[in-house]
Amino acid sequence: MTAVIVKALADLRRRRLQAGVIFVTVLLSIAAGTMAVTLMSQTRDPYQAAFQAQKGAHLQVAYKAGTDPRLLSTTPAAIGATAFGGPYPVSTIQFKFKEQKFFVDAVGRDNPLGDVEVLNITSGRWAQANDEIVLTRSFADLHGISIGDRVKVTSVAQTPLLSVVGEVVDIDEGSADLSSQRAWVQAAAIPSLTSPDSSYYLMDYRFAADPTRAQLQGYTDRLRAALPAGSITGSLNYILIRNIFNITNQILTGVLSAFSIFALAATLAIVATLVTGIVISAYREIGIMKAIGFMPAEVVGVFALQIVIPALAACMLGIPLGTIVSQPLLANSSHALGLSYTPSFSIGMDLMILAAGLLVVAIAATLPALRAGLLKPIAAIAKASAPRGAGGRLLRTSAARAHLPRPVVLGIGDALARPLRAVLTLVTVLLGVATVVVAVGLPRSFLLINNSATGAGNYQVVVTRTSAYPDSEVMRVLKAQPETARVVAIGGQNITVPGVLDPVNTRLYRGDSSRLGFLVIAGRWFSAPGEVLAPAALLRDAHLKIGDSFTGSTDGQVLQLRVVGETYDINNFGHSLFMDLATMASTKPAIEPYMYDVTLASGADVAAYVHRVAAVQPDLIDVHASDTSIITPVQIIDLVLLVIAGVLALIGIGGVFNTLLLNTRERIRDTATLKALGMSPRQVMAMVTASAAFLALIGGVVAMPVGLYLHHVLNDVISNSAGNDTPPAAYAVFNAYELVLIPLLAVAVASVAALVPGRWAARTNVVEVLHAE
C-alpha cells in the first residue's frame, strides 16, 4: 500500500497541470452540488416551521361587509375547523408616507395572539389606540418606515394620521416587493378608516390536520351553501401561500440541481478522459510496475489515487464553499418568515456529499484504470505506448478536400484520433455551451415576461385613485394633459369560477387594453363584453378551453363568460381572469376602475408628467412612473444561472484543455517528426489550435439545439410552476446571429485554451524526442 501511495504521489507531482484541472473542475461541480443539496434539504422546512409556530390558518375567507358577524361565528363549526380567528373587519386603505402612497388591507384585530394566525411581533408593540397601526416588517423595511413614523390615511375624507407602533411578520405574505400587504389596527378604528365599498370581514380557519386541496374545496363549497349568495368575496388557502413562498427557492433548487448534475457529468467525463490518457501514456511504465511486483489492483490504485487525491482536496474546499454560498439564500427565507437565522448545514449531509462525490470520481477513475490493471506486463513493456487507431479518415479527407491548410487538417484529425476521448470532450463542451445558452436565454425570457407584466414600453405612468376621488375626475385630469396618448382604466373584482377553490382575481379593463403588452399565448385578446382570457392554471383547474363558455358569479350575481384566449399572469399562480369592465358593468353597474395605465406620447418627460399630475390632487390620487425593474427572486435566479454557466463553461474549457494536453503529449513524436519535415512553430500552434477549435465547434454546434431545448424546458417548468404556459415569445429570445455567434465564441475560447499546449508542442525539441528511442 505504501508503494501505491508513494508512486501515486510521485506521478501527481509529474502531472501537476492535470491535477490542477481535476481540482478546479471537481471544486466547481461539488460546490454547485452542495448548494443544490443544501437548498433542497432546507426549502420546505422554514415555512413549515413558521406555519406550525404561528398556528397558521389553513383557510382564510373574506366575507362581504354586510354579512352578519353572528352568522360568521357559526362557520367554523360548520366546516369542522378546530380553531378560528375573526371575524376581523378589514378595510382597504391608502395612506401616504412622505411623498409615497400605499395601499394596504387594514385588519381590525385587537390581539396578535390567539388560536390561529399568531402574529410574530419583531419590533415595537401591538396597536392599542385607534390612531395606531402595525405594519409588516418587510413592508416597513422596503419603504423605510420606522416605528414612531406617522402615516396619513388618504382614502377617507378625514385623512386621519396613524402612528406606526409595531412591525410583525405575517406568514401569509411574501415579501413586500412582490405582494400586497396587510396592516393591523384596533377593530374599533376600522369604521373611521372605511370608505364605501372597501371593507369586508376576514375569517381564519385552522384544522386538526393539514387539509388537502379537495378538502379545502369542500369547505368553501359548504360555506357558500350555508351563507346567502355572494357572501364570500375571496379566499386564500395555505397551499397557495406556501407555494408562493417557496417558488423562488424551488426554481433555484431545480436549476441548481439540474446544472450541478451537468457539472458533475462534465467533471466525470474529464476524469475518465484523463485516466484513460494517463494509462495510455504510461503503458510501458505499467508493464514495469507489474514486472517489479505491483498487483493488478495496486496498479489500478496508483491511477485512481492520482485522481482521488486532488478530488479530495477539491471536495474539502468545495463542500464548505457550497454550504457558505447557499447560506444567504437560506437566510433570506428564514428572515422573511421571522425565524431567527441559524447557519444551516449538517455535517452528516456534507460527509455524505463528500463520500458520494469521491465515490463517483473514484469510479470514473477506476473504470479506465482497470485497463492498466489487466495489461500483460510483456505486452506493455514491448509497446512504448498503446496502439492507436486510424480514426477520422473520412473527416480528414473532407477537410483536405475543403482545401484547409495541412496543419489544420492534421489538427482536426488529431482531435478525433481517440474517439472515446473526443466524445467525452464533446460532452464537456456541449454541457458548457448549452448552459451558456440557457443562461443567456432565460434572463431574456424573464425580462420579456417582466416587461409584459410591468408594461415596459407600453405605458409609462400608473395612477391609482382612492374612492374619495371619482373616476370621472381622474379621467378628466389625465385627458387634460397634452402628453397623454392613451389611458386604460383597470378595476378589480373577485369572481367565483366553478371548480376553482378561491374566488378568482379578475382584472377589468376600460380602454384599449389589447395594447398594454399582455402576452397572448393562444386565442386572442377580448374584444367584446363577456369575453375573457385566463392563464393556463385557471383553464386547467376549471376544465376550460378556448371557446368554452362558463358561468361565474360575484356578489351573488351570475356572469355569462366565454374564454377567447390564454394569457400569462405572473401573479396568483395563474388564477386570474382578464375581461372588459363592461362585462362586469352589466351585473354590477357601480363598479369603477381604481387604477390607470397611462401611455404617453413618444418623447414625453415622464418625471415632469408624474410631478404635474400628482400636484393636481396630492392626497387622493397616487401617480408614479411604472416600475419595470426586475423582481428580486428573478434577479437571484438570473445571478445563479450566470454563476452556473460560468462554472460549466470553465469545466468545458478544462475538458478541452485536458484533452489537448493529453493529445499533444501522446503525439509528441508525431509533432517532432512534423517539425523535422519542416512544420514551423506557427504551423504547430495552428495544428493544436485547430484541434481545440474543431472540438469546440462540433460541441458548440451540437450544444445549440440542446441549449435551446433546455431553455424551452426550463421556461416551461418555471412558467408552469407559476401556473402559466410559456408565451411563444419567451422561447424565441435568440437572434439568428447569436445562434452562430455562441458556437463561434466557444471556438474562440477553446482556441485560447489551446495556447498553452500549443506553445508546448511548438517548442518540442525534435532531436531529444526523435532520438530518445
Binding site: 492507436r388 486510424a390 523535422a676 519542416g678 514551423s680 512553430p681 525534435v766
Partner: protein, 243 residues
C-alpha cells in the same frame, strides 16, 4: 564548384552527459556527392546530421547549406529551410500512423502550401510501392515504410537528402533494397549524406566515407570505383596450391 554543405569548426556541447558532442568538425560536401558518415554509437555522427538539417543549433562554428548560414535563420526560418531544402529519412521511419502512405508523402508539400499528389504517386511508383498508397503505416512492412519515408523526404525535391541509419531497423534484405534505392537516387544526381554504422552498406554507394570518433572527423576516405577483376579483389586459396 560550390560546396552544398560546409561545416566550419563546429562544436556541439550537450549538458548533462548526453553523448554525441562534436568537437571542431569541419567538412564540406559537394553537390552530387554520396557521403557516408560512420562511427560508433555516441560518436556524434547523428549530431552532425541534425545540425545540418537545422534540427539543432551548434554551440559554436558555422554551418552553411546551399549558401545559407543556418545561424541566421529563426525557428520558423529553419522549419522552412528543412521543408524546402532538406529531405530527412529516419531509422524508425516516423510515419504518422493515422495518415495513409500517400498522405504521409504529401505532408511536406502541403506544409509548403502546394498540392503534389501526382508527384507523390510518381515517387511511390518509382520506389516500387505504388500499391500501398492508400494503406496505413501499420499495414506496411518495415521496408515499405522506409520507402514511404524516402518518398516523403523527396516530395519537395530537396537539395540534400539526409538519412540517419535508414536501414537500422530493417532486416538485411529490406536494408539492401533501401540502399539500392538511395544508390539509384544518387545516380540520378541526388546529393546524399548517410549516417550508418554498417560499413558494407556505406561503401556500396558512398564514394566517400567520413569516420567520426568521439566528435572528431578521424578519416575522410574517398574511395575509387574502377572495374576490377575478381582475382584482384578476392583470392580463394587452398593448402594444396601453397604446398
Amino acid at each position: 564548384m560550390i560546396d552544398l554543405v560546409r561545416l566550419t569548426d563546429v562544436n556541439k556541447v550537450y549538458q548533462g552527459g548526453i553523448t554525441g558532442a562534436l568537437n571542431g568538425v569541419s567538412i564540406s560536401v559537394e553537390k552530387g556527392e554520396f557521403a557516408a558518415i560512420m562511427g560508433p554509437s555516441g560518436s556524434g555522427k547523428s549530431t552532425m546530421l541534425n545540425l545540418i538539417a537545422g534540427l539543432d543549433r551548434p554551440t559554436s562554428g558555422t554551418i552553411t547549406v546551399g549558401g545559407t548560414d543556418l545561424a541566421k535563420l529563426s525557428e520558423g526560418g529553419l522549419a522552412r529551410f528543412r521543408r524546402d531544402t532538406i529531405g530527412f529519412v529516419f531509422q524508425f521511419f516516423y510515419l504518422l500512423s493515422n495518415l495513409t502512405a500517400l498522405e504521409n508523402v504529401l505532408i511536406p508539400a502541403q506544409l509548403k502550401g502546394g498540392d503534389a499528389k501526382a508527384h507523390a504517386r510518381d515517387l511511390l511508383d518509382k520506389l516500387g510501392i505504388k500499391e500501398v498508397a492508400d494503406k496505413y503505416p501499420a499495414r506496411l512492412s518495415g521496408g515499405q515504410q522506409q520507402r514511404v519515408a524516402i518518398a516523403r523526404a523527396l516530395i519537395n525535391n530537396p537539395m540534400l537528402l539526409l538519412a540517419d541509419e535508414p536501414t537500422g531497423a530493417l532486416d538485411t534484405h529490406s536494408g539492401d533494397q533501401v540502399m539500392e534505392l538511395l544508390g539509384g537516387l544518387h545516380r540520378d544526381g541526388q546529393t546524399i549524406l548517410l549516417v550508418t554504422h554498417d560499413a558494407k552498406l556505406a561503401t556500396r554507394n558512398a564514394a566517400r566515407v567520413l569516420s567520426v570518433v568521439d566528435g572528431r572527423i578521424v578519416d575522410d576516405a574517398r574511395l575509387e570505383s574502377p572495374e576490377r577483376a575478381a582475382s584482384e579483389v578476392i583470392r580463394v586459396r587452398s593448402e594444396e596450391t601453397s604446398r
